[in-house]
């Protein structure tokens, strides 16, 4: 049986842990609201661009002369897995779920005899992926110096990917991130980003009217492809940061509750020990008095 002093010390230490998890939970809740608003604000652009891409893609037949970003390199030997993680932990299984999804895909591709490479965004994915695939990591993108990943980061990531693609560094790129469903549910998601999958044709809206293009469709498409890629990455980063905060909120809520339970248990134990000590003391006194 632990002594009273020890118990008191443990109760206090659990209490201060609870304070920290509680604070982190509230911070995550506030940040989640902000991240959701940012994701909301990014929707009009993404929706419009997807619409335009859809209607353009419906008009163009993919051939050898099509932009490489759309048509592909003609091979699918080398796969690049772009894994987007956060920089901070304390978010439950958020990061490990994304890494798990990426590793699963890597194993599947390796079993098919493909070559797998990794491009890592964020700090938390590095260690677990380096453990298994240290030699396949081509680059790491550092987001530690920015508070919230924004469009500027998406732009830089996309540009690095396109440069790598044009140098023949890979044939197909998949993006791994966590899709935000709710504060309780985040789904690790894989999405092919290069070659750009043609968005579902928006023939309904613009197909009715005759649209004039300046310059022609193909040049517009070539100009829009990199932008579309950036938007996709930007969208993924936003989803990821909302998911991170959601996961963090849930994890910290659980931690706070567990700490509360532990405090209750320890308090009961503390009170029992105290009672036992008092009873023993009383018996001693009574026995002493009777002996006189």
């Amino acid at each position: 049986m632990a002594s009273l002093k020890e118990l008191k010390g443990r109760i206090n230490s659990v209490k201060s842990t609870q304070k920290i998890t509680k604070a982190k939970q509230m911070v995550a809740a506030a940040k989640l609201r902000k991240a959701q608003a940012a994701a909301e604000a990014a929707r009009p652009y993404a929706a419009r661009l997807a619409e335009v891409m859809g209607s353009l893609a419906g008009k163009i037949t993919v051939s050898e002369n099509s932009p490489k970003l759309l048509a592909g390199t003609g091979s699918d030997q080398v796969h690049l897995l772009v894994v987007a993680n956060s920089d901070k932990g304390l978010a439950g299984a958020f990061n490990s779920n994304i890494v798990k999804a990426a590793k699963l895909k890597a194993q599947e591709l390796l079993a098919q005899g493909k070559t797998v490479r990794f491009y890592l965004v964020g700090r938390k994915g590095r260690a677990p992926i380096r453990r298994d695939y240290a030699k396949s990591i081509v680059a790491q993108f550092d987001t530690t110096e920015v508070r919230e990943p924004g469009y500027a980061e998406a732009e830089r990531i996309a540009d690095e990917l396109v440069t790598l693609y044009e140098k023949g560094g890979f044939d197909v790129a998949h993006l791994f991130y966590s899709r935000f469903r709710s504060a309780l549910l985040q789904e690790p998601t894989a999405q092919q980003i290069i070659p750009v999958p043609a968005p579902a044709g928006g023939s309904g809206a613009s197909g009715a009217a005759v649209v004039e293009y300046e310059p022609d469709e193909e040049e517009i498409l070539a100009a829009l492809l990199p932008r579309y890629l950036r938007t996709q990455i930007f969208g993924a980063l936003l989803e990821n940061s909302a998911s991170e905060q959601g996961a963090s909120m849930t994890a910290m809520d659980n931690a706070t509750r567990n700490a509360g339970e532990l405090i209750n248990k320890l308090t009961i134990q503390y009170n029992r020990s105290r009672q036992a000590a008092i009873t023993t003391e009383l018996i001693e006194i009574i026995a002493g008095a009777e002996a006189l």
């Binding site: 604000a41 652009y45 649209v211 300046e214 310059p215 932008r227």
Partner: protein
């Protein structure tokens, strides 16, 4: 009135009814008034001129990485970066 929207990846910058917008298209400037035919164009980096009324002085917005779409519901400019 022409319905005009300016959208960046981060947010909807402007959603207004205006008289005319002059867009610096990659193959020359073009003005968009109400009832313009459906049209799509890339935009070179430069200033959008927005005429709220027929006679007033234009308001200028610098944009880079732009794309313009004119449809039944007005003019939509997608820009990667907007200044001011």
């Amino acid at each position: 009135m022409l319905h005009f929207e300016l959208v960046t990846p981060a947010r909807l910058v402007r959603s207004d009814d205006v008289h005319m917008v002059v867009v610096p298209g990659s193959e020359g400037e073009f003005g968009v008034l109400e009832g313009h035919a459906p049209f799509m164009s890339t935009i070179r980096d430069g200033a959008l001129k927005i005429y709220r009324t027929e006679s007033g002085a234009p308001e200028e917005i610098q944009i880079t990485g732009g794309f313009a779409e004119v449809g039944a519901n007005g003019l939509t400019v997608l820009a990667e970066h907007v200044e001011g």
